[in-house]
């Protein structure tokens, strides 16, 4: 059990190493076998994970990768989960009356008889736009981690378009669109951050494919 766990930790460590450190990654992986034979696989692999983290923090490209992951995992994925959750489960953050979809449908409200048919027609479209924005956010996070900048910018603009459409649509229906506007603001901030990240990436020195022999 210890050895597979150590190998898994080592794989995570090596995945985080800069491409210019490929030789060092192979060197640490080779020493893991020796450490395992010595019964020290787990502490050795844990140390290599720390070493990879230290090396990432020490280099501009490593810090850049960490920043990308923090943005993708810390902001974009939670936002995508919130948006998809709003669309599928009718979380109360988006729809009026803080009662999810039933609130949006005015169930039990005095105005239900007058307006319900209008909202019945609108809610599926609202949910669809919200779902599309959430999926766009997921693709945005993935493109960011992959450093596929054209895709990331395209998905960010699609997501921004989606939440802007949602805000306008809800406003036209006289629904409380503050939560949708908040989503649009967050996506707008993400777009600005993405542009900054793309510029910073262009300023980074090109990775050295292989270091000195040995």
């Amino acid at each position: 059990m210890t050895r597979p766990l150590a190998r898994a930790i080592m794989m995570i460590a090596l995945a985080g190493m800069d491409i210019g450190r490929a030789d060092w990654s192979r060197a640490m992986a080779a020493e893991l076998e020796v450490a395992a034979a010595d019964g020290r696989a787990l502490p050795f692999a844990g140390g290599c994970l720390v070493a990879a983290g230290r090396d990432m923090l020490a280099s501009a490209s490593g810090r850049f990768v960490l920043t990308s992951y923090v943005l993708a995992l810390g902001i974009m994925l939670p936002m995508a989960a919130l948006q998809i959750g709003c669309a599928i489960f009718g979380f109360p953050y988006l729809y009026p009356d803080q009662r999810g979809l039933s609130g949006a449908l005015l169930v039990g409200s005095p105005h239900e008889a007058l307006l319900r048919s209008i909202y019945l027609g609108a809610v599926p479209a609202l949910a669809l736009i919200q779902l599309a924005a959430g999926i766009g956010h997921l693709r945005l996070a993935w493109s960011l981690v992959e450093r596929n900048w054209p895709d990331a910018l395209r998905w960010c603009l699609w997501t921004l378009s989606g939440v802007t459409a949602l805000t306008l649509y809800m406003s036209v229906l006289f629904l409380d669109s503050r939560q949708a506007m908040l989503q649009a603001a967050v996506v707008g901030i993400e777009l600005v951050m993405l542009v900054v990240i793309v510029r910073r990436h262009a300023d980074l020195p090109a990775p050295i494919a292989a270091e000195q022999p040995g």
């Binding site: 060092w24 992986a29 020493e31 070493a51 000195q212 040995g214």
Partner: protein, 90 residues
């Protein structure tokens, strides 16, 4: 860094495996490898690949001090000798 310099300078001409240095110095791999990487970047240590002693094992990295590294190791050892109370830092 002093520990690694001292360890490698003891057998100046010998190529040493990372795990052997780790055991001798008592450092963890999380401390040793960043040190070796920086020392190699700064031209204090040289590294090369060696074929494995056992069949089926991957090639291993070996390390030894460069002339600059050995000079620094001697300088630091002399300083430590001059001030015995000075702690030896990793």
């Amino acid at each position: 860094m002093r520990l690694v310099l001292a360890s490698l300078s003891r057998q100046r001409a010998e190529w040493r495996h990372g795990y052997d240095v780790l055991k001798e110095t008592g450092l963890s791999s999380g401390t040793l490898y960043p040190l070796l990487m920086r020392m190699t970047d700064n031209g204090l240590v040289e590294a090369e690949w060696r074929e494995p002693a056992q069949l089926g094992r991957p090639p291993r990295h070996v390390y030894r001090l460069t002339a600059d590294g050995f000079t620094l190791a001697l300088k630091l050892a002399a300083e430590d000798g001059a001030s015995p109370g000075k702690p030896v830092l990793a």
